[in-house]
Symmetry: C2
Subunit: 295 residues, 2 copies
């Protein structure tokens, strides 16, 4: 276990928002709400909430009348050398933020509640899971899809809201929901950005001052590609990717991938087209950031 | 594609029982029944029904008040050299049998309805799926679990009934239901046998007269093991397995496996104990039969 940069803050201030840890209990509470005719909106998160998460919550509030937010750092989507133990956590702050948004219920189960001893069942979406973010993170999307399916089975929401920063994740979840005949409607929401364009992420907190500044290059590179396509009519994917990589590397980013793919099958394209996804994953120091735009 | 022994019979007699092919439609019909306060009972089958299936249906009738039976030969649970194309089918006869049992609804989707183009999502229950029947049939239980999860999501039954002839299948389904937090209650029912002890199976129809007679050795060998344990206090698993294999091979059966395992984890035991599962799979000619008893 690597040492974590962040230490949990002490915080004894009481926050009054209903927070449930047990699966059986939250099922009962939500069943009661459903019986009263409530439409259930669900926002699954790993906590350490930022404006991106809160924008998902606001959509859920607008489109349903009983909003459940889960806060669960899902161990099975982290590789053995990834940052599961160090993933930032601050439940009290999250509770305060969600209270302010008038969320009805927080689901905050333990790892043991979600994966009791002898847990054995996993879901995979083939083809879509071993590319882009899945290629350097084998098993990552298996972990994501499995926990999302479990959460959807527990909450049984009418709608569930996901952010498009994790574009590949959203595509895979939509595919799983369709393939497994679930009734939930998946809604995806545009990425929320800092004023200098950096995509909001719980992991941004790991960046030091210099890395934080350099990381703005990611969105700049994406915007450059969009301009190159729409203004300068450059459509050679290989060329655009090469240029973007060079821009990012010049700022000290270590590129995991820069890819231009069709946005349904996530397959690489040779010529850029309207609707294509330009996606990237880049390390600054030890912190891996992702971002994307759709042309 | 190998040539099939059985040819579909012509049968123009009309049978009046509601049979639905479309997922969206059956969801609506069942939602309506649920709204009326009905408890939904579900029996998933691959059709070509025999008394074993009908005993499942009768339990469903007794324990719920809206019974759905699915008839779907699930291609993804068959290996490339297995008998998917030749698996026996007789929908008209099945409909007549289910009509007699007062089943409310038959779900009989096409392969394309269940697995449309671009289908990609699969469920696995690790450890339990690559042993016993899974060891000679890689991917078999992945196919079973995936279709069962889909069917449970479509029908959303309160109870679902499975036969214990497919003991491993039942164990895996129960595990999946628990792991994925589904609300359905799984009920398993003892194997129904012919008067000479052969476990009922849709595949028995493939046995020729001589194979059919020899196949009775399977249940005899299982009963011998039970007697050996309870009467003669033999508890050496290796010895019991060797003896059973010899009995079966003497009758011309080609043994896939004979195994003695604990009935929850399906792990081999060295010493027999009350509650152990004795399970076997044996070929007679080209027909693979399975059977088991619990001590």
């Amino acid at each position: 276990m690597s040492r974590c940069i962040l230490e949990a803050k002490k915080d004894n201030q009481e926050v009054k928002i209903r927070t449930v840890k047990r699966i059986e209990l939250i099922k009962k509470i939500i069943a009661r709400a459903r019986k009263k005719g409530k439409a259930i909106g669900f926002v699954p998160t790993m906590g350490y909430l930022h404006e991106g998460h809160l924008s998902l919550v606001r959509i859920a509030k607008r489109k349903s009348n009983f909003v459940v937010v889960s806060i669960f750092v899902n161990p099975i989507q982290f590789g053995p050398h990834e940052d599961y133990n160090c993933y930032p956590r601050d439940l009290k702050k999250d509770m305060r933020l969600l209270k302010k948004e008038n969320v009805d219920l927080i689901f905050n189960p333990s790892v043991k509640e979600m994966y009791p001893n002898g847990y054995k069942t996993y879901v995979e979406v083939s083809d879509l899971s071993n590319i882009l973010c899945g290629s350097l993170r084998p098993g990552h999307f298996r972990g994501v899809i499995t926990v999302v399916l479990k959460l959807l089975n527990i909450v049984k929401p009418d709608i569930a809201i996901f952010g498009r920063k994790d574009f590949q994740q959203a595509v895979i979840i939509e595919k799983m929901v369709k393939d497994l005949n679930l009734d939930v409607k998946i809604i995806t929401i545009p990425t929320v950005r800092e004023s200098d364009g950096l995509a909001m992420s719980s992991r941004n907190v790991f960046l030091n001052k210099s890395e934080r500044k350099k990381a703005t290059i990611l969105y700049q590179a994406l915007k450059w590609a969009r301009r190159a396509y729409y203004k300068n009519l450059i459509s050679n994917a290989e060329y655009v990717i090469k240029k973007m990589k060079a821009m990012i590397e010049k700022k000290g980013g270590r590129v995991d991938y820069v890819a231009i793919v069709d946005k349904d099958e996530l397959k690489p394209v040779k010529k850029l087209k309207k609707g294509n996804l330009i996606a990237l994953a880049v390390f600054f120091g030890k912190t891996r950031l992702i971002d994307n735009i759709v042309l």
